[in-house]
Symmetry: C2
Subunit: 353 residues, 2 copies
């Protein structure tokens, strides 16, 4: 394998010394970039992008051409996994992703099994292709949705603002939800390990919806299954550690417990003070975050001031990967994203001397 030219991101995840605070942005390859929209138009559809290693490689690299980001992230979607389980992913015009066969009745749930990974070969091919195209420029991050977050889509059959079916099942038939989560956890473990085999140099578990649960339910139905995954992941490739990042949106109240499941890094959304988070768990894990993605709607000067505030709150030393607290908005101005990346690189050097 090619030698990494910029391994700042990997070193920060392991709290090893760095020269500056590395940055990447969740959803950095996406609709806010005109070049992404052009590629997507050529591909014909969102899944057309995901299922073609060539297109996935092209869009993964687009933000790196614009900004000196310190990591690339596989372009894909968390719903590839339930699609491989046979739930029938489709995109209704203007409605977001949906499943033809949401998991609602007991017999369908009992029949759910870990899918053959061959069905996701296009993802692993994309990882290999991206890794090759990167040619050691920056590390490549693989990812998956968390078991609970995947279950939300699988049970609701699409996006939801109240998780009505999920919560009915969680409170009334918890054993059925546990079956789905156990299948998901094994699937995600296999899926992430195959991404690592294909060349992913770090992996992130996105727990977008665990934060919609009570503390008790979060521990039982989301965190426990992420812990199971972390325990089953390959942690080394090419003689180098493969760090694991766990990110629960709205999980700021539960940092101590999240930091204890064995991941190298915990992602923070923008509501958590990163200085307080470091005091709570910074001896155990690195922290990733946590710029409010919608602060990108402010002026470049305001963006720089807010980046400066976050860098100062984290303070001296390694263990901080700068990121947004959630995915970048499709309405964000790419010039504002450029201002953020430049500000973080420039302003963070003082904290690494």
């Amino acid at each position: 394998m090619t030698q990494l030219k910029n391994d700042t991101f990997l070193r920060a995840l392991l709290k090893e010394p760095v020269e500056y605070t590395p940055i990447w942005m969740m959803r950095q390859a996406g609709r806010y970039l005109p070049e992404y929209r052009a590629t997507r138009a050529r591909a014909g559809s969102f899944m057309g992008l995901c299922t073609s290693p060539d297109y996935a490689t092209e869009v993964t690299l687009q933000p790196l051409e614009r900004f000196p980001l310190d990591a690339a992230i596989l372009f894909s979607d968390i719903l590839t996994v339930p699609d491989a389980m046979g739930l029938g992913l489709y995109f209704a015009e203007g409605e977001g992703p949906k499943f033809e066969r949401p998991l609602r009745d007991e017999s369908a749930i009992r029949a759910l099994t870990v899918p053959v990974l061959d069905k996701l070969q296009y993802v692993f091919d994309a990882v290999s292709s991206i890794r090759k195209a990167l040619d050691g420029r920056v590390p490549l991050i693989g990812f998956s949705g968390s078991p609970f977050t995947l279950a939300c889509y699988m049970i609701e059959g699409g996006g939801s603002d109240d998780f009505r079916h999920v919560k009915a099942m969680l409170y009334s038939r918890p054993e059925l939800l546990h079956h789905i989560l156990a299948v998901n956890a094994q699937t995600v473990t296999d899926y992430l390990n195959a991404q690592i085999d294909a060349g992913a140099q770090a992996v992130q578990i996105f727990d977008t919806w665990g934060g919609a649960l009570s503390h008790a339910a979060y521990k039982e139905f989301s965190l426990a299954y992420m812990q199971r995954i972390v325990a089953g992941l390959k942690r080394e490739a090419d003689g180098r550690r493969v760090p694991v990042i766990v990110f629960t949106k709205n999980g700021g109240q539960w940092l101590e417990e999240i930091a204890a499941i064995g991941a190298d890094c915990v992602g923070l959304d923008w509501t958590t003070d990163i200085g307080q988070a470091r005091a709570r768990v910074g001896d155990k894990v690195a922290l990733q975050g946590n710029f409010d993605p919608n602060a990108l709607f402010g002026s470049p000067a305001a963006i720089e001031a807010e980046a400066s505030r976050i860098l100062a709150a984290y303070g001296q030393g390694s263990g901080h990967v700068f990121n947004l607290g959630h995915g970048i908005s499709q309405h964000a101005d790419p010039e504002h994203a450029a201002a953020l990346v430049a500000a973080v690189h420039r302003l963070s050097r003082q904290y690494h001397q």
Copy 2:
């Protein structure tokens, strides 16, 4: 004034001894009740309900006829206040509330002033009418949106999922947002004091969107203005203390700071463990909450188990007002709400012996 027959709610807010844990439900008068939908159909529109003291009284009392709730809450809407400021509230079919003249340009913002309270006389008339109709059965809660939450609607011109305009202003032109918030804080103070004069026996400030901010921005743009309101409220009426409840949805990370602004009670959404919250701030304030409203989609047995868990987490003694962690869903089954109220009343007695 008529003697209160059931003052359990008021005593719990002041951490005085009670026989059981009182309960009310946010949005308890609402679309999940068929009798509410019938009254709304007669009134012709949502604002037709709000602006008629007779209709507002009728729907306020409806949930009390079904369930032995320990408090009534004024039926109204938080958007009455910006409507009185002249922003032109209207309801677009299937789209929720909107404003004709959202606050976007500097001259409109500088022209914003505290409205003449006469424009909200229909609200105060509703409070008087409800208080009379209650005839001392349970206390009546008045309410308002928080200055920041009102500003979100005033600036975005309606609901938003990213608060794009608000955050652009917050980060780039904070002085403009501070002007709006100062006007809102004075208006809300006057508005709640007039509700207290009209008969409200407790008041709640709903900070629905403060939890969408970073910790630093929350303190500066939401909490500081709620503190200003609390300091300006009349705290006694009919020779009895008028307790103030502050509720920031998604504010669980900031409880210590919220508990320090002078309110009697802090509302919790369902993501916070109420036992941990009590350990953090229970010596300073009472706590209200925090049953996941969507746990009402579970079975009655599951609802009872979850209520039992929350009561046990709070533990022995007064200072807990049971509530949902957010408004009840329009899709909730009224029989399930009945099961919750009965369970809380029955299961809580053991914690007040």
